[in-house]
Subunit: 344 residues, 2 copies
DNA sequence: TTGTAGGCGTTATCAT
DNA sequence: ATGATAACGCCTACAA
C-alpha cells in the first residue's frame, strides 16, 4: 500500500509524471511534444490529455542539456533607451519568435568590457546564434565568439573584418551625403551636433568632416559634442552653445540623431531663428516625428526594423543549413529631404 | 596508450576538462566559480588559471538543472515598439542586471492568448521570478502562474485581485483628473482621442467619461478611437476626423498618449487652429518631447522607469526572503500642466 | 510505433 | 578544505 503519494500541486510535474499518468514511457511523452507525427493518434491524444490535466510544462534546461539545442538566440545591444535599438529588436523578435526561438537580450551600456561580460553570460546559455552590435569587442570577447562556433551577426555598421556575418550601413558615407545635400541647398557654414559619440556616430562625423574639407569649408569649432546620452533637451543645449561659440554664423546643423535635431529645432524656434530660411537642421534615423513636426525635419532614413529582420533571417538560414547570399549585407540609407533644409 | 585526445579548439570545454587540467576534482572547480571562499587560495588560483587558459564558460543549463536555480527573470510586455514599456524595461534591466539576474523578455502583442503561450515559454525556463503586464490573463495562464510558486509582479495598472504582487497606478483617476484640469481652464467641449484601446487606455477613457458626465458635458460623438497602434500620424488623422465629425465645436482633446497628442498638435498647427487659445491638447505619459515642443504639451507623468525598478526590487526582496512593505504599490502620477492647455 | 539504457554538465549530499 | 557519488529532467541512440 503506497501511502506517500505526491500532492499534485506541490512538486514540479515532470515528463515521467505525465508518462505514469498516461501509462506510456517517458520517451513517448517527449515525442508527443517534439515530434507528434511519430506517435499514433490514440496515444497522442491520451498523452496530451495527461499533459493538460497535470499542467505539465517541459523543463527547457533539461531539454537543452540533453539535446544541446537551446532554442535561444542571444542579442547584445548598447542601450535599451535608444529607439534605434528597440526597433531593431522588434525585427529580431518578430522573426525569431515566429521561428520558435527565444531571445535573450543584454544591454552593454556602450562598454566593450561590459559587453565581454554580457557575452559570457549569453554564451553560458548555449545560444544557437548571436546578434551583437558593432565591431568594438575586446580581444577576449572575440576569442569567445570565435570559439562558440555558432552563427553570429554583427549589426548596425559595416565592418571590415566581421567575426562571422555582418548587416549594417555606411555611416560615414551617410554623413558625407548629408553635408553634400546641405551644401547643395546653399548652406555654407555647417555645424555638427553630437552626443554619446559611439563608433557609428564617430563615422558620421568623419563623413561630415571629409565632405567639408573637400570644399574647404571645414571649421573645427563648428563641432559641438557631449559624452552624455542624446536627448531633445541636450539637443537644445548643444544648439545654444553652438550658436554662442560661433557668434551665430552657422547657417546649418547636422545632428547625429533626430532627438538632438528636434531639440535644436525647438530651441531655434524659441530663439526666433527661422528654419529653414536662416538655419537648416538635419537629423538622423528618421523617427516618426521628423515627418510631422513643423517644419518637417530632414533626416536619414535607415531600415532599423529590417536590419533586425535580416540579421535574424540570416541566422535562421545558417541554422537550417540553407545558403545565404552573402555574409555581408549593406542595408543602405536614404536622405529624406524635408522642409527643415530646403531653402531653394 | 591513449591516442584519441580531444583537440582543444573542437569540443566544448566542461568543468571536468578544467578539473583535469588543474589536477583537482570537478566539484572544486565548481566551488571556485560559485563559492570561491570555500577553496584555499592556492587551489583557487591554480584552477582560475586553467579556466582562463581553456576559455571555459559554464553551462548554465546543467547548472540550472542540478541546482534548480536559473538566475532568470521572465518579463512579458505587450509591445516592444511602445516607449512606455521600453522605459519600464530599462528599470528592470538596471536592477536585475546588478543583482545578477538575466532577463528573458517576451512580447505578447496585446493578446491574452499570445500571452498564455509566452508565459508557458517563460515558465519552461524555470524563471525565479516573473514580471507581467496588466491583469488580463487567460484562465489557463492564471493557473500556470499560480502553480509556478515564484514571485510574480503584475505591472502598469492597479489590480483588484492580483495573482501575487502588483505595481501600477490608477489610470481611471488620471483620466478623470485630466478632464477636471481642462474644465478648470475653461474648456467646455472636450474630445477624446484613443488608439489601440488596451485595458489601461479603456480605464483612462472611463475616467474621462465619468468626469464629463458629472458636469453634464459628456457627448458620445466627441470620442474618436481606432484599434490601430498609436502613432503621431494616427494622432493627426484622428484629430482631423474629430474636427470633421463635430463640425469643429470641440475646444479641447484628451489624447491617451503623447504620440497621438503630438500628432494632434502638429495637425492643429497645419489647420491654423491656435493651441491653446482655440484648442487645448493634453497627452499622456509625459515623454521628453512634451516638454520641448512649441507650445509645450500638457501630459500625465508616470514613473515608468521607477515602476520597473520597483517591481524588480520587490521580486529580489522576496527571493532573498526579505519582507516587502506591501504587495500592492501605487506609483501615482502627476499632471504636468503646460502651455498646450493653459488658457487662463 | 513504442521502449530501454545511458549520458548531457553541473551541483547537493555526505564523507574524509 | 577537498572529494566521491548520485541526482536534476530530458533526449539520443539503439532495440524490439
Amino acid at each position: 500500500m503506497k501511502t506517500a503519494k505526491k500532492r499534485s500541486s506541490d512538486k514540479k510535474i515532470t515528463l515521467v509524471d505525465v508518462a505514469d499518468a498516461s501509462g506510456v514511457s517517458a520517451i513517448t511523452v517527449s515525442r508527443v511534444i517534439n515530434q507528434p507525427e511519430k506517435v499514433s493518434e490514440s496515444l497522442r491524444i491520451q498523452v496530451q490529455k495527461a499533459i493538460d490535466s497535470l499542467g505539465y510544462i517541459p523543463n527547457q534546461h533539461a531539454s537543452s542539456l540533453a539535446s544541446s539545442k537551446s532554442r535561444v538566440i542571444g542579442v547584445a545591444i548598447p542601450s535599451l533607451s535608444n529607439i534605434v535599438f528597440t526597433e531593431v529588436l522588434r525585427g529580431i523578435y518578430e522573426v525569431m519568435g515566429a521561428a520558435g526561438y527565444k531571445v535573450l537580450l543584454v544591454d552593454t551600456h556602450y562598454s566593450p568590457l561590459e559587453e565581454e561580460k554580457m557575452v559570457r553570460t549569453l554564451l553560458s546559455q548555449s545560444p544557437e546564434g548571436l546578434i551583437i552590435t558593432g565591431g568594438d569587442q575586446t580581444k577576449a570577447c572575440q576569442n569567445f565568439l570565435h570559439k562558440a562556433r555558432i552563427p553570429i551577426v554583427q549589426i548596425m555598421e559595416l565592418l571590415a573584418d566581421p567575426i562571422d556575418m555582418n548587416v549594417g550601413f555606411a555611416h560615414g558615407r551617410a554623413g558625407f551625403d548629408v553635408v553634400k545635400h546641405l551644401l547643395g541647398q546653399g548652406y555654407e557654414r555647417i555645424g555638427f551636433i553630437g552626443a554619446r559619440m559611439d563608433p557609428r556616430v564617430q563615422q558620421r562625423m568623419q563623413g561630415y568632416k571629409l565632405a567639408l574639407e573637400q570644399v574647404g569649408k571645414f571649421e573645427k569649432n563648428y563641432i559641438v559634442t557631449t559624452p552624455e546620452p542624446s536627448s531633445i533637451g541636450v539637443g537644445g543645449e548643444l544648439f545654444k552653445s553652438l550658436m554662442a561659440s560661433t557668434n551665430g554664423v552657422v547657417d546649418a546643423v547636422f545632428c547625429v540623431n533626430d532627438d538632438l535635431a528636434l531639440g535644436a529645432l525647438f530651441e531655434a524656434q524659441r530663439m526666433n531663428i527661422r528654419v529653414p530660411q536662416d538655419m537648416a537642421i538635419c537629423g538622423f534615423n528618421d523617427i516618426e516625428a521628423a515627418e510631422y513636426v513643423n517644419p518637417s525635419l530632414t533626416s536619414v532614413s535607415v531600415g532599423r526594423y529590417e536590419m533586425g529582420v535580416k540579421a535574424s533571417e540570416m541566422i535562421i538560414r545558417v541554422l537550417n543549413e540553407k545558403p545565404i547570399e552573402s555574409k555581408k549585407v549593406d542595408m543602405g540609407y536614404e536622405i529624406k529631404k524635408r522642409a527643415s533644409t530646403s531653402r531653394l
